[in-house]
Symmetry: C2
Subunit: 242 residues, 2 copies
Amino acid sequence: MEKNQQLKTAAIEKISHLDYFNIAVSVDCVILGYSDKDLKVLLIKSDLEEFEDLYSLLGDLVNPYEDIESASYRILKERTGLDDVFLEQVQAFGSIGRHPSGRVITITYYSLIDIKHHKLMLDNNELHWHSVNDIGKLAFDHKLILDTCMNRLRQQVMENPIVFNLLPEKFSLRQLQELYESILGIELDRRNFRKKIMLKDWLKDIEEMEDDVPHRPGKLYMLKKQFKKANYGAIENRIMLS
Amino acid sequence: MEKNQQLKTAAIEKISHLDYFNIAVSVDCVILGYSDKDLKVLLIKSDLEEFEDLYSLLGDLVNPYEDIESASYRILKERTGLDDVFLEQVQAFGSIGRHPSGRVITITYYSLIDIKHHKLMLDNNELHWHSVNDIGKLAFDHKLILDTCMNRLRQQVMENPIVFNLLPEKFSLRQLQELYESILGIELDRRNFRKKIMLKDWLKDIEEMEDDVPHRPGKLYMLKKQFKKANYGAIENRIMLS
DNA sequence: AATTTAATGTGTAGAAAGTACATATTTATT
DNA sequence: AATAAATATGTACTTTCTACACATTAAATT
């Protein structure tokens, strides 16, 4: 802001039904989960005529009385019953033609959740998990949004302890490695992966073993408390603010 | 998107003057420049009563007929006369109380320009360059926005050849090192810095020497053509789109 | 009970990158 | 001619990255 504060103030106070307000703002959530060694995204069937038979991300318009971050939490809560999950803004998408019904600028968040642990309210909705690698077209510009999120996730994954939001509380190093492999799309050497992860000092050996595998069970680990349930992007901002 | 496509479509088509459209969208540009071994940001004096004597970033409302990226280029062009510069989205800021006159969600871009080379239209405006390290309070949430941008810049700076947008076309390694030092806020060892930069293979030795320094002149370099004038974030998206 | 199968768990040598550090050289200034 | 202030450069040490192989454990099979 602001090209001309007075102009803007005037706009806001007096011409609120004119051009500058003919833009709607929405939030779209890229909700990622992990099961069966496969990264999945939660989608809903689009009911716009223009996008018949295409799926779209979960989203909603932002209302004037809620923060955009609150809006994204609201969407997540309404659709999945989850709160207190990892959620972070990616960026805004605002091409003119992105929504067939009008000008809608959308702000994208991505969320990482443990599919198995949190029983979603899936069945009565038309929500479905789709393999991220399996997705061709999506409604709107949602494929672009998804790809952008995946790039962001890949960038973050070795720096920040965020992928643990996709796993159950207790997990083996094999599970963790498989998760990294499906996010990064490459195979990793087991010994080198262990060394690298252990060096980060994110994990706590809880002295338990797997008990549900048809082979030699591995040790179980948890993410250390100090790294839990943080919204890393938001934290950064909060520190700045003070 | 979209919680409920039908609801949303209805909203857009029929209730365009109701709640969901009482949100304005703006773009704010963090325009960074570099001179006298000091990173600077272009600010304008706020003329909102609430922010008397405070400065703010350059911004404007987005109109419904332009992309948000176009809007940010427009602002930059109007204010500085520059186009064809580095410009990349950071993120959206949308707290309820961030604008005293109403609900305004802003999308932030940052831009890196060479102060000396591009003669700005500074004098007839109330635009001024301010040392980034010198900034206390700003109008709106613009301090938070600036800090977020600076963090983004620091993250990017060793990975991507973007800082060259802040320098003249030909520069010495000393100038480059000083720039890195002022962005990162730390001192760097000259020999190690050279090694690291040369390893990246971004620079071309143009076989010229400085001629305006009161001491032994250093070699001049240019950024290799293949790295020039790219908008890295946007490129990523464009590739995805195809 | 013995054997087989399929996974876990661990170490080392070589390569690459990062870090700390000192001296000779070149140019402008005095 | 001497001085001052910067450029240019190399090496030893440490850390991280990478490639790679074998013994161990528990469940499943015979």
